[in-house]
């Protein structure tokens, strides 16, 4: 194994990839998705979303609305008429709150007065979730009780299944980050990396490489290094865009590193098997979809049988520690089994790559 040759191949590919529209697509797609999510879901990059614009109809001057008015998270617009308030719920106003007259008294008597919450369907999902949460918190505060519970969903006998739901708050920003990271690593690993190899085959440049001092192992490692370089670049950009250093970031970094290694090895294997760009385009999308599925566990109610299937997908063992680490709930001791399984998958995938290359060599 000659590192001068490996670095020469990686350097050539890194320069060449900037002119390769397929590879550029793989690099830019997750970043564009990240920006798109921010647009679609509003400002979702913190525990608390910035100041919310809320319309209220409060004929009884309730303490609930007074408390909201004092909150630094809310800008209130008061409406005397309910219809006017409902009509105002559009544009930058995330929602409206109709508090009936006599609300405070009813609450003190232990009754359950109705508070109507009107949501602006065009607001971001994160803003709407935060608004609902804020109203719930303030209602509990009116009966002199703190927010009643920290909700952690626990699968009996195992670790919490989703760190991103802790505290009763759905952390949309972190869910999206996990999904984007899996997408970015799979786009680079199982799309860009096999393309780099297959393109060398299609254009017969691989033949020229193999009569040079480069052997199949150097070629594969050169491509792997290119894949890891681009993975690191995109993960860095996504972390900056989404404040991904929250929680237990060393565990997050380890999970991402192992995930990147696994996907790059898988990409090399695909590149070794496939002969044409068309084959890579077709199969990569299927493999990417499979690798992405475990990241859906965070929000979708998944039947147990399907969850068992997800556990057979190696990216599951990156997603779970990553979710927990981002939510600050994972220590290395808590997720080491996951990481070891992922490391095992990396070793198996690289062994398969070496075997394939040696078998094909001459």
């Amino acid at each position: 194994m000659n590192w001068r040759i490996i670095l020469a191949i990686a350097r050539k590919d890194i320069v060449d990839a900037f002119n390769n529209r397929y590879v550029l697509f793989a690099i830019l797609m997750p970043i564009l998705m990240s920006l798109l999510f921010r647009l679609a879901f509003g400002n979702v990059d913190s525990d608390r979303i910035g100041r919310l614009n809320v319309a209220v109809h409060d004929p009884g001057n309730s303490r609930l609305v007074a408390a909201l008015r004092n909150s630094s998270d809310v800008n209130l617009s008061q409406f005397g008429d309910l219809a006017d308030m409902r009509a105002a719920v559009k544009g930058s106003i995330v929602g409206g709150l109709a508090v009936p007259a006599g609300f405070d008294d009813a609450l003190q008597k232990g009754e359950q007065p109705e508070v109507a919450v009107y949501l602006n369907p065009r607001s971001g999902g994160g803003e709407r979730a935060t608004f609902r949460l804020l109203v719930t918190e303030q209602v509990w505060a009116q009966v002199n009780q703190p927010f009643p519970a920290r909700i952690t969903l626990v699968d009996a006998g195992t670790a919490p299944v989703s760190g991103l739901m802790s505290g009763g708050e759905f952390r949309l920003d972190l869910y999206l980050l996990v999904m984007l990271l899996v997408m970015a690593l799979s786009m680079t690993g199982v799309f860009a990396v096999p393309l780099l190899l297959v393109e060398e085959k299609e254009k017969n440049t691989l033949q020229a490489l193999l009569v040079s001092p480069a052997g199949p192992i150097e070629v594969a490692l050169g491509k792997a290094l290119t894949g890891l370089f681009y993975s690191a670049l995109i993960v860095g950009i996504l972390a900056v865009l989404n404040r991904g250093w929250v929680g237990n970031w060393p565990v997050s970094a380890l999970a991402v590193l192992l995930g990147a290694l696994f996907m790059v090895a898988l990409g090399l294997l695909m590149g070794g098997i496939f002969r044409t760009t068309m084959q890579v385009n077709t199969w990569s999308s299927i493999v990417m979809l499979a690798l992405l599925m475990p990241s859906w566990l965070t929000v979708l109610p998944v039947p147990r049988a399907l969850e068992t299937v997800f556990r057979l997908i190696p990216s599951f063992y990156m997603v779970e520690p990553l979710q927990l680490a981002l939510a600050g709930e994972a220590s290395l001791a808590k997720v080491w089994v996951n990481l070891m399984i992922l490391a095992g998958c990396v070793a198996v995938a690289f062994a398969a790559v070496v075997w394939t290359l040696r078998r094909e060599d001459r």
Partner: protein
């Protein structure tokens, strides 16, 4: 001294012998032509001699290295110009050579020399998308020469080039041979082989059917005859090996009937057809 030594070399694919027990040697600084139609086994032979394929049987040594056991030692001693223009199209000519230079651990200064050698110094910074076929072919040769190999394998180096560019490439090949580089050349073009090669081998269906200098091949397998253009119009073909034809030529010359006299030796193409019953380009 022999730079290439091939002994009973065979390479089979799924039981079919693409190369079937061939033997030959190539001396230092020689241009050796390996001629045959498509599918005759030329490229397979090159792939075995350059270490890309293992032979099924037989032995081959190139530049002092066994092509199977000493493949890694062999690689820096040979240069290969492939039939396909396998360059990185999105990179410039200089970047293509810089990449090869890094692979071989060659000094960056050598890139300028190689570009100069093939007349591409001025166009080195252009991307290959803006190169003509001929320029790409010259760049392929520059890439193969970058690490100063002692043996150069050229697989159809002038295929698809216009006559002017093909002539330039042939000139370059002849120069390299004069500098002591041993050249193993495969081509469809018999005139090219005739012009460049000190010896040629005809390969057909994996076997060498003839191997000699072009002149001897034409002499042995062609007809020794002259074409006589007559003063009164018309022409005659007279054999130099036939006593009657010899007398007839003398009589015509004495009678002032001979306008012009042309040698009419067989071409390599005709020799090839005579030996194999096939044309080179079918």
């Amino acid at each position: 001294m022999n730079v290439i030594e091939v002994e009973n070399l065979t390479r089979a694919f799924n039981g079919l012998r693409a190369v079937d027990g061939i033997s030959f040697t190539v001396g230092e600084g020689e241009i050796f032509g390996f001629l045959g139609p498509n599918g005759a086994g030329k490229t397979t032979t090159i792939r075995v001699l350059t270490g890309q394929l293992r032979p099924t049987a037989g032995k081959a040594r190139v530049a002092g290295c066994d092509v199977v056991r000493e493949r890694e030692e062999l690689k820096p001693r040979i240069g290969v110009v492939f039939e396909q223009q396998n360059l990185y199209e999105r990179l410039s000519g200089r970047e293509n050579l810089a990449f090869s230079a890094r692979l071989y651990g060659v000094d960056g200064q050598r890139i300028n020399e190689a570009l100069e050698q093939v007349g591409l110094r001025e166009r080195g910074k252009d991307r290959l998308q803006h190169y003509s076929n001929g320029m790409k072919q010259r760049l392929l040769i520059a890439r193969a020469l970058l690490h100063r190999p002692s043996v150069l394998f050229l697989d159809e180096p002038t295929r698809g080039l216009d006559p002017t560019m093909a002539r330039e490439i042939r000139g370059l090949v002849a120069d390299l041979a004069r500098q002591g580089v041993t050249i193993f050349l495969t081509t469809h073009y018999m005139e090219e082989a005739d012009q460049l090669c000190s010896r040629v081998a005809f390969i057909n269906q994996g076997k060498i059917v003839a191997l000699d200098t072009p002149a001897r091949l034409k002499m042995i397998h062609g007809d020794r005859c002259v074409r006589v253009m007559l003063a009164g119009g018309g022409s005659l073909s007279l054999s130099l090996d036939d006593a009657t034809d010899g007398r007839r030529l003398g009589e015509l010359a004495a009678a002032g009937q001979v306008l012009t006299l042309h040698s009419a030796e067989a071409t390599l193409e005709e020799v090839f057809i005579r030996l194999t019953g096939r044309r080179l380009v079918e």
